[in-house]
Structures are given as C-alpha cells and as structure tokens.
Subunit: 329 residues, 6 copies
Amino acid sequence: MAHIIGTSLPDMPWQDKPVNTRGPVWRYSQNPIIPRDATPNSNSIFNSAVVPFKDGYAGVFRCDSRSVSMDIFPGFSKDGINWEISAEPIAFGGDAEITVREYRYDPRVCKIDDKYYITWCNGAHGPTIGMGWTQDFKTFYQLENAFLPYNRNGVLFPRKIRNMYMMLSRPSDTGHTPFGDIFCSQSPDLTFWGKHRWVMGTINGDASAWQSKKIGPGAVPIETSEGWLMIYHGVINTCNGFVYRIGCALLDIDEPWKVKARSRNYILGPQELYECVGDVPNVTFPCAALTDADTGRIAIYYGCADTVTGLAFTTVDELLNYMKEYPLA
Amino acid sequence: MAHIIGTSLPDMPWQDKPVNTRGPVWRYSQNPIIPRDATPNSNSIFNSAVVPFKDGYAGVFRCDSRSVSMDIFPGFSKDGINWEISAEPIAFGGDAEITVREYRYDPRVCKIDDKYYITWCNGAHGPTIGMGWTQDFKTFYQLENAFLPYNRNGVLFPRKIRNMYMMLSRPSDTGHTPFGDIFCSQSPDLTFWGKHRWVMGTINGDASAWQSKKIGPGAVPIETSEGWLMIYHGVINTCNGFVYRIGCALLDIDEPWKVKARSRNYILGPQELYECVGDVPNVTFPCAALTDADTGRIAIYYGCADTVTGLAFTTVDELLNYMKEYPLA
Amino acid sequence: MAHIIGTSLPDMPWQDKPVNTRGPVWRYSQNPIIPRDATPNSNSIFNSAVVPFKDGYAGVFRCDSRSVSMDIFPGFSKDGINWEISAEPIAFGGDAEITVREYRYDPRVCKIDDKYYITWCNGAHGPTIGMGWTQDFKTFYQLENAFLPYNRNGVLFPRKIRNMYMMLSRPSDTGHTPFGDIFCSQSPDLTFWGKHRWVMGTINGDASAWQSKKIGPGAVPIETSEGWLMIYHGVINTCNGFVYRIGCALLDIDEPWKVKARSRNYILGPQELYECVGDVPNVTFPCAALTDADTGRIAIYYGCADTVTGLAFTTVDELLNYMKEYPLA
Amino acid sequence: MAHIIGTSLPDMPWQDKPVNTRGPVWRYSQNPIIPRDATPNSNSIFNSAVVPFKDGYAGVFRCDSRSVSMDIFPGFSKDGINWEISAEPIAFGGDAEITVREYRYDPRVCKIDDKYYITWCNGAHGPTIGMGWTQDFKTFYQLENAFLPYNRNGVLFPRKIRNMYMMLSRPSDTGHTPFGDIFCSQSPDLTFWGKHRWVMGTINGDASAWQSKKIGPGAVPIETSEGWLMIYHGVINTCNGFVYRIGCALLDIDEPWKVKARSRNYILGPQELYECVGDVPNVTFPCAALTDADTGRIAIYYGCADTVTGLAFTTVDELLNYMKEYPLA
Amino acid sequence: MAHIIGTSLPDMPWQDKPVNTRGPVWRYSQNPIIPRDATPNSNSIFNSAVVPFKDGYAGVFRCDSRSVSMDIFPGFSKDGINWEISAEPIAFGGDAEITVREYRYDPRVCKIDDKYYITWCNGAHGPTIGMGWTQDFKTFYQLENAFLPYNRNGVLFPRKIRNMYMMLSRPSDTGHTPFGDIFCSQSPDLTFWGKHRWVMGTINGDASAWQSKKIGPGAVPIETSEGWLMIYHGVINTCNGFVYRIGCALLDIDEPWKVKARSRNYILGPQELYECVGDVPNVTFPCAALTDADTGRIAIYYGCADTVTGLAFTTVDELLNYMKEYPLA
Amino acid sequence: MAHIIGTSLPDMPWQDKPVNTRGPVWRYSQNPIIPRDATPNSNSIFNSAVVPFKDGYAGVFRCDSRSVSMDIFPGFSKDGINWEISAEPIAFGGDAEITVREYRYDPRVCKIDDKYYITWCNGAHGPTIGMGWTQDFKTFYQLENAFLPYNRNGVLFPRKIRNMYMMLSRPSDTGHTPFGDIFCSQSPDLTFWGKHRWVMGTINGDASAWQSKKIGPGAVPIETSEGWLMIYHGVINTCNGFVYRIGCALLDIDEPWKVKARSRNYILGPQELYECVGDVPNVTFPCAALTDADTGRIAIYYGCADTVTGLAFTTVDELLNYMKEYPLA
C-alpha cells in the first residue's frame, strides 16, 4: 500500500466512506461548509485554500464581493470546517510596483520550510500568477509575479525538487479560455522561472471527455511513496456551457512533468444542488487538500458553482487504486 | 432623510425588513407571486409592470405562451400580490401601419397626467420601443415606435422635465447583445424624439463586475428629494452565461443624463432557486416599482429566470444610503 | 376519433391524466424512473429507447460513463418502469471495417418484422447514423452506417412504405450544431439510401419560438388512422443556452415527408428540477414511446437534463386534438 | 423616358459610355480621381460627398490620417475631378455638449433650400448619425445627432416631403455589423425624429446574393419623374470577407419607404485593382452623385477599397431600364 | 514509369514545362483562359468542368450572375482554351420534386459508359450533391440528389469499381464550413448510396499546413497504373482568411478509400494576381482535368479567386514523383 | 540631434530619402529584396532577421515550405540586399528535451558580447519564445524556451541593463490572437526569467487606430542618446481582416518598460502591391534593423504580406522627430 510522505494530522476533518458509495471520493454530509454570505459583503466564497496552522487551520479564501469584485481573504478555523473569514482582504507589503492590485482570485497556499506561500490568479495587465508569503496569516509580503500573462492556477510543490522550486500552472488567454494544458516550471529563487515543461493536456475524443476542453492543477501536490499525487480540474464544453469536474494523476517524484498514472474517470463532479446551481452552474473546483500521513486520509476543499465551498474525503489508496481500475490508456 | 415626491399608497404590498438581512433589499416571503402557469396557455410570466389603479392595481404582463410566443397581457389585483391576468393579449387600436404585431415583450407602465403609457420591446423589423396608452386597461391605443431599431428597455419618466417628455432606453443589436449602455432621449410630443444623451455605461475591470457586460433601465424612475432614483439591471458574462442582477442610481432632477450616485454593489441578484433555475437561469430583472411617499417604501416587481415573477421590498433611504456606503468611485 | 394502428399493450406503464393538467402530456408521478447511477460506472442515463419484448420490455440505453464516454447498453424490465441495465455496452458482430467504435449515443429501437433494429448516433470520423439489429437483445449485429457524416437522430419507420424502408434524421455539423431540419430518406435494403426529402424545418420569428433553432425526430413514428404521429424535439437558443422541448406532428401515411399537422405549442418542456438541473440544464429529449392500440395510450420515454430518464403519458387523441387546438398556421 | 427633377449642371464631370460596356454604369477612365495621399497626413481618402457649389463644386471628404484617425474635411474643385482638400478637419460651431468629437466618417452632403446639410457617422458612445450645416463650406454649425446609437449611413432627402424632413439610415451594432436594413425617418425640425418606417432589407437565398448580408443608403436620393432614385450599397459575406457593391432602387415620391423597383443585379462592384486591393479589399461604396436634369446624366462618387475615391457615370434611363431588365421579383 | 489508363487525346491543350519551374505543375502562359465577363450577365466564371466531346470539348461552367446568383451553364470549345459558354443555365428534365432549383454551383462532369454525368453542389434545404446526365450537352436529365445535406464537391469515379458506382465528397455544414474530410460512397444504381468510407482528412500541426483546415476532391480521379490519381483542394485558415491550394493523392484501384500516397507539398497555389485578387482572394480550386493516355499529359482546369478560370499543366509522372519526393509521412 | 550608440556600418544598405516622401520611412526602390521562391522548396520568405557579420551580413530567415511548414534558415550576404539562403533549416545542438521541433517562425537575431542570439516563435505545446545562439551561423546551440506558452515576438536587448538580460515579448493565445500588449522580462542568465513588466498596450478609440487590436516588438531595440528606439508592429481589425503596420517608440534607457515617446502615426504600412497582396494580405512586419552610428542611418527589414521580404530606410532623427510631430497624447 502507498503512503503519504508528510506530517500527521490526526484531527483533520474526516467522515468514513458511506456504504454504497460508487466512486473514490465522498462528500461531507453537511456541505457546503462555507455559505455564500459568510462575510459581511460577500456575494460568494469558493475556490479557496487551507493549511494546518498552529493547533488548527488557516486559509486564504476567494470572496467575491457584492460588487462582484474578486479578492482573497485570510481565515482561521479550529476544526477545518467552521471558519472565521476576515471581512478585509489581504494587504501585502512589498515593492509598490509589485503590489498594485487589479484583481485577485483562486488562491492556493503551500508551506515550504517555515513559510506559507500564497499563489493566486493576479491581474497585471491580464491574469497571471501572483505570489506572496506569510508566517502568521496576519502580515503578508508580496513577491514578483511568477510568469508573464496569461496564466491561471499556479500551484507550488511543497518542497524543492533537485534543488529547484517547482510550480504547476495552466497558461490561458484573456477571457474564458477554451483550451488549457498543465505545465511545470522551475526556479532557483522563486523570482526567476524557466525550464518549463509540458506535463499533460486535454483528452481528445470519447475516452475521457470530462477533461476534453481544459485542465488545470488544483491542490498542492501530495507527496506519496508512489510519486506526487496531483488533484486537478477538467472541463468539458456542453451545448449549455462548461462542466468542471475533479480528477487525479500521479507524477514522477523527481521529474514531475512525467505522468505515471492519470484518472480516466473523474473522481468528483457536480451532482448536488449546491454544485449544479449558483453563479456559475456545474462547477466543482479543487484548490486545497489536507492530508494525514498516518492514515492516508485526504480532505479536499473545492468551490461549488462559483458560489460556496464544499468538502470531500478520500484516501491515497482510494485514488491510486481508482487510477489503476480506470486507467487512461 | 430623503423622501419620495409622489402620492401616498398606504396599502401597497409590504413586509418589514427581516433581521440579519445583509443588503438593502429583501424578498417577499411568499415568492414567486406569479407562477409560470397563471394563464391557460402561458409558458412563463415575468418582466412585467404594475401601477396603482383605482382602489387597487393594474398591470401589463409579459406572458410567453406554450408556443414561446412573446406578448403582453393586462391584469388586475386588489392587493398587488394576487393577480388576475387576462388570457388574451392586449389589442391596440391605431393606424394599421403601426399596430402590426411581430412580437411584444418586457412592458413598462408609466402614468403621466391622466394616461397610463405602456412601453415595451416591439418587433418592427428588429426590436425597438413600442408605445401605447390606456385609461382603463381595457381599451388601448398604440402610438408610433419611439426609436429606430435596435433598442430595448424603453422607460418613460413620470412627468415632463423642462417641458420635454423623456425616455431612458438601452440601444442593442438584433440578438442577445453583448453590450449595452443607458441613454436618455427627449420629445415634445411623444412622437418625435431627439436630443439623445448618454447616461451611463458598463463598468470595466474588477470594481463592479456584475454590471460589466450590459446595463438597462428597469422601473419607471422614482422622483425623490435627491433626484431621480433609477432601478436598473446589470449583466456579467460568466463562462456559463449571463447573470442579470439589480442595481440603482441617482440621476439629476433636471438633467437626468447626469449621474449623481450609482451603486457599486448590486442590490439584488439570483440566489433563490426560482431565480437561478428556469427557462433562462440566473436572471433577476426589474420592470416596475410601487412607492409610498409617506413612508418611502418601495416594492420592486422583477422577473425571475425568465419564468416567474417575484416581489422585493426596500425604501428610498435604504437605497440612497447603500449607494453612499458602497459608492462607485 | 383517431386510433393507433398496432398491437395491444394492455400492461404498458400508465397513469391517468391528473385533473387541472394544462397540456396534453403529463409526467409519471415517480419521475425520474432511471437515476444517473443505475449502473456501476454510469455518470448519467438518458436519451434511451424501449420496446415491448416477450412478456415485458427491453431497451437500449445511453449511459455516459464516469469518464464521460458515451455508449449504448441493453436493459430489460418487467413493467417498463423498473429497469435492469447491463454494466457492459453492446458488442456488435459484423465486418471489422464497420464495427470500429468511436462513440455511440442517443439510440432508438424499431421493430420491423421479426427484428429489432437499433439506430444511434455513431462516431465515424464525425457523427452519423449507426445501425444494427438483434432478436434477443443479447446478440447484436451491426450494419453499415446509413449516411455520410454529419448526422444525428436517425429514426426508422416501423414498416416499409411503398416497398421502401424509410428513416427520419437531422443532418448536423461536427459540434453543437446551431441549425437542424428533419429529412426523410428511403432504402430498398437498409444498406443503400436515397430519395432524400425535406420534411420540415425550424420556425422563424415569434410564432413557435421553442422550435426556432433546430428540430429532430424522437420516437419511432406511431402509425394512426390519421397518419404517422411523430414526436420530436425542438430547440430555442436563449442568452443562457439551448432549451430542448418536445412537440408532435402528423405525417402523410404514404409520403411521410408531407406534413399534415404540426404542434405550434410544445407538448412537454423542462419545468421539473430533474429536467432543469443536470449535466446539460433544460433538456427534455424524447427517444421512444410505447403505445396501446386498444386505448390509444402513449408512454413517452425522454432524457432529462442529459442526466436521468423520465416517463410521461398521453394519448393519440390528446395529441391530435392539441395540434388542432394550437395549429401552426 | 424618365427625367430628373432638379437643376441643370451642364459642366458636370462626364464621359460617354464606352462601347461593349455590359452594365449600366461605367468608370471614369482616369480613376481613381483622389489618391490616398492627397493631403499631407492622409492614409486614405474615400467614402466622400460632393455637391455643386458656386461655379464649381464643394465636398466633404473622409480622410483617415496616418494614425488611422477618422475625420471629415472640406474640399473644393473647379471641375469635380481635381480636388483641393483641406489639411484640417471641419471644426463645427455649436453647443459644447453636441460638438464633442469621438470620430467622424462617411459624410454625405445634401442641399435643402439655401443650406448644405452634412450627415455623417458620428461617434457618441457608439456610432450614430451626426448632422451639421454650412453655407460656404468654411463655417460649419453642428446640430443634434439624429438618432440614438447604433446607426450608420444617414442620408437626407433633398426636400421636405409632405411637410416633413426625411432621412434614410441603416441601424447597426457597435462593430462590423453582419446585418443591416434601410429605414426612413421623419422630422418636423431636423432635431426630433420619428415615424420610422422600414424601407427594404437584405435578400435571402440565391436571387440577389450580392445584397444578402447588409444594405445601406448611399447618395442623396435623386428626384425623378418616376420616384426617388436611391443608389445604395449591398454586401455579401464570402469566406474571405465582405464584398461591397452598388445597386439602385426606386422609391415612392410621397411615401419613400415604399419600394417601386429595385435592382436584382448590382450596377457596379469591385473589379479594378484599386477597388479590390487596399486597406479593406473589395469595397465600392457610393456616397454622392451629381446630376444634370437636362440630360439625365449621373456621376457617382464612390470609395474604393477604403483607400481612394473613384468616379463612375450613368444616366437615369440606364438605371431605370436596368431595374426593369433585371427586376427583383 | 506510370501510365494513364484511358484514351488518347493528342490535341488536348498543352505547353511544355518551362525551364526553372520549381514545382510539378505550370500555368498556361495566357491565363486566365476565361474572363469574368465571358457571358452577357456573368459576374464571374470559375470552378468549372470540361471533358472531351466529339472532335472538341464540352463543359459545364459555374457562372455567377451580376445578381450573384449561382448556376451552371453548358459550353463548347474546339481547343479546350477558347470557350463558347451559353448565356442560359442548364434546364434539366425530370421529376418536378427533383428539379426544383435553389442554387447550383461547382459542377463536375464525368463520362461513364455513354453518358456524361454532371454532379454539382445543389441547394435542397441546404447544399448537397445534385446529379444529372446528358449525351449531347443540350438536353439534360436530373437524377435524385446523392446525399442528404450538407455536402459539397461530389466527384464520381469514371467507371464502376467492383460493380459499384463510387463517389468522393466532402460533407460540410450550412455555411463556410471550417472543417472537411474526403469520403467515398458506393451505389449500385446512382440513386441509392451507402457503404460510406472515410478516405482522408486534414493534417494537424506543421507538417502540411496548407491542408490543415479542410480538403475536398477536385477533378474526376485519373486511372493510372499505380492507382487512382486524385487532384484535390486543401485549405489553411490564416488570420486574413482561407487560402485554397491544390494537391494530389494516389488511391487504391479497388478500394479507393485507401490512400497509397499523398502530397505533403501543394502542387499549385495562389501566386499570380488573378489568383490572389478577385471576389474571394487567394483561391485556386480544381474541378476538372484532361488527360492523354499516350503521353501522360494532364491539363488541370481551376477556378481563380472565385472570379476567373485558369489552366495548368502537368504529367502523371510529375505528380507521382513529387509525392515520392515530398511524402506525407 | 540624437545619435545611435553603437558601431559604424558605413557600407550598410542605403538610399537617400526621395523628395516628396511624406513620412519618415522610405522603401528600397528594388523591393522586394527576397522573392518567395528564393530557396528550392520555399513557398514564402518573410519576417526575417539580419545582422552585420564579418565583412558582410548574416541572417536567419523564415521560409515557409511548399507544404507550408514553418522553419528558420541561415543566410549570408555581401551587401545586405542580395542573399544566399540555405536550403536546409537550422539544426540546433542541445539537450534532446529542448531541441524537439514542432514549428519555428519569425526569428530575431541579437548580438550580445561575442554571440549571436536567435529568438523565435517556437512550438512547444503552443507557441512560445525559443532561444539559441551561434558564433558562425553554421553551428547553432539551443537554449531553454524563455517563457511558458503562449507567446510570440521575443526580442532581446543588445546588452545587459543593470546587470540583467532583458527581453520584450507579446503574450498571446493559441490562435490568431485578437489582443496583444508588449511586456519586458528580465533574466540573470538567459535561462530563468522574471520581474515581468508591462511596457505598453493597444490604443482604444480613434486616436491611433492602426494599433488598436494588438502590438508586438519588431527589431532589436536600437540604443540612442535619447533611450531605446523600439520599432514595432501594430494591428487594426477591419471588416475584411487584420492590417499590420509599423510604428516606433522610445523606451527609458535603464527601465525600458517606461515609455518616453510613441508614434501616434504609423511609420510604414501596406501600400505597395507586394505588401497588400500575398498569402496574408496587408501585412508589413518588421523583424530587424541595421544601423550606422556615424550617420544615424537605419535599414529596416520587414515581411510583406507573409510572402516576401522588403527593405526600408530611415534615420534616428527622422523617427525621433516624427514622434514629436505626431505625439501620442
């Protein structure tokens, strides 16, 4: 059996798998955990990231305001389920040429060494990958944008690999982007990036049509004894719009642009009313995962219909076995 | 405090603001007030207009038939909530060159002096603003179309301003129109129109994205001690379609193309199931408002998902304060 | 009164028409009859076809897998409501040049003489009409595709007409196809097809807008004393996507490309939550009907939101009368 | 034989019809008469209007600058062929709320009584019809825009009809507009406009495909004993772009929205290199005509490939006969 | 060396290959051979087909009229270069249900046994393949359309293969069709068609981008000792429109849907002014070829810029060798 | 007067400015200097780069083959006008993971220290900026791609600035890209890039419409006493396609993302037949410039209609003065 390489998190949110569950992932019974109006001026709260922090959890949340302005907000929780989210967006320190804000959305949080790095989609004459860090989720420092526009879904690996920081991302265009592959980039210092490698793309034809239009990395990759477990989103274009579902893949531990396995089946998709109905119908969009190395448990945080935040559970074995059961030839 | 300049309407529909309401507008607890099947052959009833009439209320309703033919129908109500809508569409008298019917939708009703003027989107080799009037909601007379195609959402002011009739509208194209600003036009006689002025447009960027794709006037402007209070719709284009929300603005009392204040936040948007699910998901579309000058109460009638009709409440102070609290810089 | 020309089916699924039903068709009270997860690896089960078989019913079902691969599966039922659907797709015997599988969806089943012919949308360098037959729903033989790509919704007539097999279809393009008329084609042998005739097209303007974008044949035509009763789908393009509704027409018994009557009103459309919400919102799509010649009863099987399968009831008189009541001028 | 109702212009530009000319219109042998660089900073000079003035001619010219800014410029000529065009655009006097300049293009000039009225496509939060007048082509006064956006090709009739000023125009959208019909509007005072009537539209199908995508009025209508002779442009959409050609129609003398005849054939189209190659290939676009009532001669000024200006000749009899020879059924 | 299997045609149009010609095909020095105005009412003459006939040549020509109506016209020539084209389009005898004319374009002519079969793009509620025949190019009989819409470029093989008539075609959509592969269909009787096979498609990526958007058959295939030599068109989509070029392929003699060789390089493309400038710039489109079995000479007739007709020369060895020199891997 | 900071190049191609030239740039009288068929298998040669090399010139040329495959080829010239271009594309040495070729186009060449760096649009799962170097134009070494896809027009500065290599580029999408701004990126080592800064964007509205759709850097920036002189392309979208013209800007010498001046007028645009007619009509696209520090002379190499290569002349004073004469406010 595979195991997670990481720390113990015995009190992480968890529910056992219900009997008769057909897939490898099951929803939290009280979903959604964060409603659209959890802060005083929010229109919606979704596509957000959490990490273990001190004796509980911290997170960075995408809260669109009631003017439908997109920004990122810090939050804290004792149990990972009930969250206190700040009414004020994150204010970054840093060079004024860098910290100019156009819009900010879809944050991820990745702990490397003793810092919590935040990456997000950052408006800078087009969407690109913004970066910053904090140690306490109170004071935040902004770094240079990682890439030129146009890019979304920048996701760091939680440690250097062969002495390089690495980031997954999905280059895009200026709008709703009807294409999208996953790439991996490297950096010696988190400022200058290069040695870009294509990781994987969409699947043409009928074999795995849920990921036929675009794909993008979701949660910070989970280090396992088998390789990096990447939870990602995939999109199909129906005659009535995009459907965003969730899949997983296994990446080589040293050269993570090499794909060792990939889910032909999605592992979660919009089926519940709060996933199918909202500001953008039919979206399940993962941005974070908590893991417990002792048990292999994984808790996935995912945005629902671009409106609320849901929680779902799985284990490393569930996912690895499912990729074997339904391999993408 | 601001006050409404108009008549008393003590028995207008009303519910007090529930505690813990976050915004300035709250829904009627029994929404929707008009179901999709309220007439024998209706597919949907929405985007409709009501006015005080005699000891109750009258209205003009958009009822799409079960052939999805769009037309406008008269209706009456004692309380403004329970409506009797005619099974037969309005038949206008007038010049045969004018009364030819292609299609008719999204009516507004505006009382000026002793007549009730109806404006609607009128098919005439393209959508434009049809006009007619009644004194009893039984006999109707059609006037010349106000403008050349292509136009929608013609909304009259309830009195002459500087000796001119004035009308707000949103010029458009022949289809679903991915743009749209609000203009104000003048007429000495309701037949010939000119002196067109741009009032306000969509908001680029992130500041108020709910109104970034198109906007259009909704209810007949409400005269207040601060200026004309305009309730309008704004639209964002998501990757899965348009979302129609409701906002408000304050226009100069004498030169109503000059905007004195405008809501950065929407005041109502699709959140309830009957607003999010229907023939056109995620639409809240205001076409009328009842007001009481004594109390400043406002009751907004709005179409829901192009399927049913909803009712919501606010006051002139709620709206004016909200524009101050969330100003559009 | 008209009558169905066919066999008795006294035990077919049936519920009497509820009082206060406005249209000619009413839903089964326990809809949907087939949930999305009725087979081990299904994402959705919809747009499927059933026929009387032995002392019960058999069918061919479109089950999209959890990789969103589209295929067709056999199933059996005692009562036409509770179905056992195979976990394995149909495997056809036949020439290897013919049986290559790209994708298969939207099956119809038509009994002619002693064989059950299956037609479906078959991927063959583009969608076209695949054909095959079975006598026991266990062993299946594939025939040549009927037409060149690009085509969908091939529906056979249940007997030869003037010594020719006949098939309705809707030529299309390679994608979501924003157009579509119904044509009728003839064949002496089910292999070579010709003498193509246009049957009917979309309706421009306001008269019957629910069928203004594209139309396509649905169930196998029902032979009646008045002509062939065709149940078909029609589509309107709203600003938030397509809405698929159901209508009916009456075709000449000998020259079925001649339309004797056609519904101006739709007979069923998306109104229930399971029809409005799902992988493709706002779809009702008929693919089959059971009939009882003794009573004129008709049970329509239709896909709901490209996710689940519904059942609705009517009679031949309901439909013929409704076409007379709401004629398409 | 028909005759022109108007003034004599014996010295107007003219060349006799060459033998073997197939159509009713023939080009000036020295075309183009105005090159793209006729003013110091012009990129192109085209879609321009001329009138008899004093003992020669005056005109208003569209000169796009080398920054590709669009504006209108006065010019003078002794012979109608050799032109002196001002290096400075027209500066209008008038209300500052009116004279704000966004962009100005495609002018027409129409003499009514003792004034020369200029209409053009005027940027005012979208293209609409700007209006102004002059008596000397040195001092110009601007009037209110005639219509709400979005509109192009406003063309006045050269006298009041039934005591009303009348204007033809082609309502459009904000961009390159893939549709367009001709409408006629009326005004008692040139400020307020109404009583809009549809004149004629594009031709579907194969009968007259050169005018299947959009049409718009060109020169000021020519009064004849048979009715108003309107020279207009028509557009087809090929797989490699629009082709703009020229046609003519005959309008009722009192109700000019009633079409008495219309050319099935175009009368001139892009065939010469200066018409087929330029900033916008394949454009011939008429904006003005000179006429001589004594002879029935007509000289058409037309833009070529949005780059230079051409001249072509015909007579009223040539055009009326051609419409009879190739009638649009 | 390969040879053509066919008849001698010693007097066919011919010019020897100029020295320093880089490709396998060279233009006739007096191109274009047919100007746009060769008939009294033609706008353009292009995409036309010729065959040997009696002691000279006959042909069917696409002449778009000056109303831009598309039709096909017979013509005769002594030398294959100077043509007399009828001023009247072909009038077909046959069943009135078949001979209804919507539009007709892009004819091919194929002699099988003692008849000359004409295939063309025929409007029949959408473009499809019309068929007819003549023995004298004076009296013409129409057959059933070969296929359902939407299809273009139907090209017959000049003899039965394995006792079946065969036709190449390119299924399309209702408009300018941004896709297109070549298919082969079979018929026992020229009325009913089936056993459709995919022949070849567009080439993705950089290897042969001139044929990356769509391809379609051109001239009647030439029987050679190596297989059927097919001359076809290929299209690339540049940022300023489609470019149509000419290529060739070698098909199996008995199963002509099997491709034995295919040109990576185009063999002719728009380079001369009459090919680059016209109603549709940058089009070279082959519809016919004359061949001489004695010498292997081939004369290709091709439309130029959808405006005029050109002639180019090659030999069977030039083409076969070029495919070997520049093979499509 | 300003002067170029660089080397002498007394024998560079040159012609004096003709009298009566209106703009700051004039064409070489024998244009185009490189025809489309200058190599054995070329379809077109354009968008190419040259540098002084030894006692003459070397260059890297975009030659699309007659299969319309895009690649880059070395070439040499004694005089900068007559070129010998290799028949074989450049073969790069380097890591096999880097040198995989998809397609290569639009090269630039920049000498830094003792190496000639080549940048080009490099296919790598989408277009991005490829990099390589040579010292003799015979042996070439490939470096890592500079950026993630999707990007075009990577142009290096000819020296380090504040100890950083710098590159201009234009991020794009996967297709014909209807948008595009110029950015500046920095690198310590030519492998890792960061500190991306927006330089300048398109111009909305009428002020400078030739650059309203997209812009991109062209030649290697020319160091002058006033700042970096950047020659770039700008694009307008007409109803018949894009027009590519040439402009210039002056960038801050130390912070080259700060624009000190910019041309409102284009400095060269398509006007000659070889610029207006070709595979992509109406394109002038600069990729290189030769300069002489002694005289301030500049020779611009530019692609014409994506088909041939042209040469044009100017001086540093001409360009700087023109920006002052026609400033972009």
